[in-house]
């Protein structure tokens, strides 16, 4: 069965690619400014920070858990960077420490969820407030803006003739790394197995607790990385940084085809979903379409993402009732692309 599942067409990813081109074509009719290389590459910068968070969140969701505190961890990271910058520390020291701080915040979430088996939504809801409060305390009353060029390089520099944002290259590397981790290593395979059936994975000898803690630590580390990009992009470290961006991140993960209950999903789907959401928002933004309309469209896509597994299984039941029975509960895209 597994080999058959592997050879299956990645229908959802193909649908997303078609939708991206459709949205691009639509955008180019909405605004004459849409189709230009500078514009297209430049607009991706708006999605790097939620994109990095989505990569981390995808690992957590594959386990059947959630982490909604990631945006708050970004704020902890930005105010920590402000402290380093104020103290005159070089970025070479500050960057790894901030990624580590993010990983520590994530580890704490992971321990609470995995070791003491608390519900992840409740744990990370609390952590969301706690980390946000911490960021406000560390960041004090006024924001910090006095960052040197080295601190802002990653989030503001353009490479390859001044066209490709450095942060986009970083995101591409991160996406490939997470794809490899989730689809080409034992760690990734075990994540999906825990998400499908936690107890079965445990009986098979999988160390469920450390798997989960590592996933949360990785998600936190990506939030730390996102904090470095934030500083370059916005040059402002305040306690309220990245507040309210988690909904977009969850939308990207779910629309990307990662089952919110865990066990299924692909990293390529998440990346494609980010590009789709980005293309739609870029096009509507250039056409100056109002905020409420944009929110309705994005909300509609989130619902589409959640309904997808239901629709797929309903369609399968209608067309191949017998085959589905034989396949049983086996996931259709485990270990896919």
């Amino acid at each position: 069965m597994a080999s058959q599942a592997k050879r299956q067409w990645p229908y959802w990813e193909i649908a997303l690619v078609v939708a991206i081109f459709g949205a691009g074509a639509w955008s180019s009719t909405l605004s004459p400014y849409y189709l230009s290389i500078d514009q297209l590459f430049g607009s991706t910068r708006a999605f790097i920070i939620p994109g990095l968070l989505a990569l981390g969140l995808a690992i957590v969701v594959s386990l059947g858990e959630i982490d909604i505190s990631l945006a708050s961890i970004v704020a902890v990271g930005t105010v920590a960077l402000a402290k380093f910058s104020a103290a005159g520390a070089p970025l070479a020291l500050a960057a790894p420490v901030v990624v580590l701080i993010g990983a520590l915040c994530g580890t704490l979430n992971g321990l609470l969820v995995a070791k003491w088996r608390l519900p992840s939504l409740a744990v990370t809801l609390g952590a969301m407030g706690a980390y946000r409060g911490l960021a406000f305390i560390v960041g004090s009353e006024v924001g910090y803006t006095d960052f040197g060029d080295s601190y802002s390089w990653l989030g503001s520099e353009y490479l390859l003739g001044g066209v490709v944002p450095a942060s986009l290259v970083l995101f591409a590397i991160a996406a490939i790394a997470v794809w490899f981790l989730m689809h080409r290593t034992v760690y990734g395979r075990r994540c999906f197995s825990i998400g499908l059936n936690r107890d079965a994975a445990w009986f098979a000898g999988v160390d469920v607790v450390s798997q989960k803690v590592i996933a949360y630590a990785l998600a936190g580390a990506f939030a730390g990385l996102a904090a470095i990009v934030w500083i370059g992009q916005y040059g402002s470290a305040r306690g309220d940084n990245a507040d309210g961006s988690i909904l977009f991140v969850v939308t990207a993960v779910v629309l990307g085809g990662v089952d919110i209950n865990g066990g299924r999903g692909t990293i390529s789907g998440v990346v494609l979903a980010l590009f789709l959401l980005g293309t739609i928002r870029n096009g509507m933004g250039l056409a100056n379409i109002g905020g409420p309309t944009q929110t309705v469209v994005l909300g509609g896509l989130l619902v589409a993402g959640v309904l997808r597994p239901v629709a797929v299984s309903a369609a399968a039941r209608l067309t191949h009732p017998a085959k589905l029975k034989a396949a049983g509960a086996q996931g259709d895209d485990i270990g896919g692309q």
Partner: protein, 335 residues
Amino acid sequence: MKSKLFAAVGAAALIVGLMAAPSFAQQKTSGFKLMMTPKWTGFPYFELTGEGAKAAAKELGDTLVYAGADHADVSLQVETLQNFVTQKPDGIILAAIDLNAVAPVLKDARKKGIVVGTYDADAAVPARDLFVNQLSYDQAARVMLDAALIDAPEGGEIAFIAASPTSPNHVAHMKIMTALTQSEDKYKVFKVVDTQYAGDDDAKSYDVAVNLMQAHPNLKVIISSSAVSAPAAARAIEATGHVGKVWATGFALPSAIKRYLENGSEKAFAFWDPYELGYVAAYAVHMKLAHKFEPTEGAVLDVPKAGKFTTFKDGEVVYGKPLIFTKDTVGKYNF
């Protein structure tokens, strides 16, 4: 850096090629393309500033696009501004959510020759050409204390509700109000006893107001610079049976506090005319584009329909027309 420069030159050459003559036509005096974004769209206050700006643009022969996200999120505001810059407008008008976070994209816009004007909430000074300030901090502090004097002429304990410790205008207002209650005879009847933060959130403001009344039994007036918190405090006073003992005041839209003024549970609130503020902001950016106004210290912006406004340090044009609403005057305003 070098490659960036080449790209910039290339882009400039491309723009020249595409746009040919029009953008370089000398001494253009109207027909400017203006783009405006508030902190967030959908809130009546900002919608009115947008309508005012549109009216000014129409009278001056310009076009004005008003757009933005439906909640206050700085990354979305930067995205909106980026989209504006891509559309090559002549002028951008905005109310900044985070004065520093919008700076990089606005500096980029200014480098491309776009005139940037802020209103309501300023951006970092080097990132914009001018700031149309609704009221100077001092004016705002005084008008709120004057409204408090209407509520409680005998004075007493006062408490503040602000949005957050990072909200620059709220913090400045509270500092000046506290100083005035210690230095000026007129305001010495008041004593500041507490400061709380409610993040411009209606429900939180309500809870904070209830807590303040419990914590300070002799509290007389709750003052807030937030147009969300002040009406919420009035609601809390009415709901907890403190009418006549505690008063709420500060900045609030007349429509939000009309019923409290009319049923006598509150006496006075303050604000300014958002429609006219938006009108003046668009007017100022237009005049700067037409080379008829330079926002240097002491320069006067003459807006025939609204008045003459003086420019202070760092291109701050003070609109400065506070309004106090009471039971008798609140009916005159439709916002």
